[in-house]
Every structure is written in C-alpha cells, then in structure tokens.
Amino acid sequence: MNTVLALVILYNVLVIGGIGFYLTQKERRSGQIADLATGGRNANLAMFSVTLAITYLGSAHVYGLMEMSFGLGAIALWFSFAHTILMCVICLGTGPWVRRLGCATIPELIGDMYGPQLRTITACIGAMVVFGLVTLETQTLGIGISAISGWSLGWSAVLGAIFGTAYVTMGGIKQTMWVNLVNAVVMYGSITIAAFYLAFALPEGWEGVRQHYMANDEEFKLSIFGTPDLMVGFSLAAVFSVVFSQSVNQQGMAAAMSAKDEKVIRRSLWIAAPINGLFGVFPVLCGLAAATIPEFAELGPKLAGATMVVSLLPKWLVILLQAGFLGALLSTFAMSALAPATIFAKDIVGANIEGGLTRAEEKRLIRRVIFIIGALAAALTFFNHPNVIRAITWLFAWLAPLFFIIVAGLFWKRNTGVAFTVVICSWVINCTWSIGPIKQMIVSILPGTAALENAHITAIVAFVLTTVLYSFSKNNEPALFSRVGSDDQPTVGVA
C-alpha cells in the first residue's frame, strides 16, 4: 500500500479508535447510555464552536475552492464568507431557537408547530436530502483516498464509507466533537506550515503569483471583490443558496441541540466564524498559484491545485495535510450520516409507535440505520459519480422552504394549511425547474430567469407564499415564542 495513504489511515484509526474506545469505557463506568444524537446536551464552548465550524467544512471547501479559484480568482473566497454569514444566522438565530425548544430534529420542531402529518412529510424529505449529501460526501472521501493511493474512485469511495460509518457508529455526536477538536489542530497546523513552505517551494514565491496575474492583465483575480459581474453572478448566488438552505439543516442543528445552553451557541460565533471562514484561504491560494505554473495548469481546474500540493511539499507535510483534510471530510460524512438515522429513529419510527422508543432501543436503531446508510452510499458511489457542486446545490433547494415556515411559526403565527401549501408548492416547483425541457420553455418566455438555480427559485417561492398566505389566512394559532412567559412553556423535548 502507498506509504502516504497507510500513514493517513493510521492517523485516523488512532484518533477515531482511541477517542471511541475512551468514550465507550467512560460510558461503561458511568452505567449511562449516551444519546447518540445529542450527546447528553452538555457540549462546551470549545467543542461546540469547533464542531459547528468543521461540520460545514466539507468537500466543497477542500476540493471545490481550489477548482473555483483556479478559474474565478480570489473572489471564490465568497463561498467561505457565505458560510460566515451562515454561522451568524445559526449562532444568533436558528441555533439558540432549537436549543431553547429542546428538540432533537428539525421535523420534531416542525411537528410541534404544525402537527404530526407535516412532521412525517418533512422527516421523509429531510432524510432523503441528507442521504443525498451522504452519497456526495462518500464520493469526495473517495476522491481524497484516490488522489493519495491511485486506486479507482469506486473502491476508494467504498473504503471512505467504511471509515466514515465506523467513525460515527462508535460514539455518535460526542465522539465526532472530540475528534473534531484534534483534527482542527492538525488541519490548521498543517495548512499554516504548508502556506509558509509554498512561499519557498513555488518558483517565484507568493509574490510571483501576484506578478503573473498583473502581467497578464488579470488583476481582478487577486481581489476578493473580482468584477461587478462576478459579485452578482457568483458571490450573491453563493450567499443566497448557502444561508437559506443550510441555516435549518439537520447537521448544523444537531450540533446546536447538543450545546450546553443558548449562551454557548451565541458566544461560539466569535470562534466558529473564523475557524470556518479562514480555512478557505489555503485552497484559494493553491488554486491561484497552480494556475500560474504551466505543468500544473495544463491538468485543469479539478486536479491542478491538489497535484501541486502533492508535488511541491515534502512527504511528511503531505501526510499531515491529507490526514487533516480526510478528517474534515470524515467529520462532515459522520454528521451527515447521523442526521437521516436520527430523523428515521425519532421522527419516523419513534413518533409513530405508542410510548416511543427507549434510549437503548433508539441507540441500537440509529446504529443499524447508519450501517445501512453507509452501505447504500458506498454501493451508489461505487457506480455513480455525479458533479458534486451541482448535486449539492440541487439538494439544498429542498430545505429552503423549511427556513421560512420555521421562522414564521416561531415569531409570527402558525397555520398548518399555509405551511403545507408553502412546502408542497416549493417542492413541486423545485421538481419542475429540474426538468430540462420545462426549464428551457420558461426561460424562453422569461429570459431573466436563466441565471436562477433551484435554490433561488424555491427560496423566492417559499418567501412570497409564506408572506402572502399568512397575511390573508384566518384561524391561525399564535407563534411558538409568543407563548414565552405564559404557563405553556415552548419546550418540545428534554431541554
């Protein structure tokens, strides 16, 4: 086996296995069964901040940013800034809201606001969307392993799925949080050293990169503001799709639900935002530098940056970098696999059997579902490799309407009929916009809609429908947070 791959795997086995073993022993000693989904709701500031930051550092950050900066330049960093805005929305808005309500899943929150039927519907759609994300994370784990080993993408993805599944089934969210803390130190240490090392390893250093773009009349690629066209077409679109679709995503909310209290979530913004946002600088620098060196530039945007890193850096640094990158991808895989398993156990099985599931039964079921999810993701990724960024954007679109009905239900008013109409109309239009001939027909009538992605369409439709229908609806119930201070406390689960 390739030495680099062997050492990267050894690192992950030691960190994941070691922490998993420690937590299992601790659980046995205490005699308490840990909740895989919420980890006992006692995550402190450091664990919560790092987990929130790394949960949203996935495939698109590691490989997508190198590819995007190769073509667009430093403006690609707006993908990271969009995630900084997302951190603000989660830490000051949606995170504290779900923690206050004490629920464990987004469908549970929707069920309390709009009834059991809408809970089951959103659980089915939510599980489907996050399962889609799991298959894409499996693919990117495969890309990482394939780049190091030279093995086929299919078999590399199977190996990635095995690692990811083992990672999360051992200890659930608590283990993921501890592993995240270790990986964050390794990842940021290695990219900082690599950035310094590249200053000497690049033919003319980082200044040579700047000179190349200035000499070729492409100075706009050196600025995070690029050109006005790119600001509208790329930056604004990135902010739009990331913020509306991810701010009520089960993975991020799972982290929020495991926090010790609301104060931890609010304070974590000052740590989570820079940890998440600054990660993007290194891949963007690599993409920019690789495009200036002909031997790497000729490999194209997908491979240029990654190949440059492997070629120019010493082996020990490549091992550290790949171990950190693989750690980030495994963390996103773990949180993504945990999300549909939790939704299935709590919202589809637990909510529909009398008396619900005991904690031990729930834990067993979540583990089994994670195994099935891992196996299905491995099988699907072995045969299919869709475009990751386009597939993620399409999946995000399904979640956009949930943001609007949740905000309306928490602060404005609640009406099950309106919420049902908003989500169903948004999802039908999302499906319609996904069918090529129908989309082309609409674009030929309204040319201005050509630039709109599915996430934009569903967010606009959901926003307009929520505002208009609630303005004219009758027989509404009061918003969930309007009950604060009354006898009826707005608590869904165990806070």
Binding site: A74, C88, E207, I224, G277
Partner: protein, 36 residues
C-alpha cells in the same frame, strides 16, 4: 506585503466585519423588543 499574508488578513478582516455587523443587528433588534 506578501500576497498570501495579504489575502489571509483581508479574509480575516471580512470575516470579523460580517460577525460585528451581525452582532450589531442582533443587539439593535433586541433593544427594540425583539429576540433577546
């Protein structure tokens, strides 16, 4: 200044600018009777 360091500091500045603006918006809405 070194190009890589310049990009790092620009990104850091942008990130904290976004965080500070978000904190100000949150405090302003709390002062006017919103979420606390």
């Amino acid at each position: 200044m070194n190009f890589a360091l310049e990009l790092f500091l620009t990104a850091l500045g942008m990130i904290y600018a976004i965080v500070i603006i978000a904190e100000i918006i949150w405090k302003v809405q709390a002062r006017f009777g919103g979420e606390k």
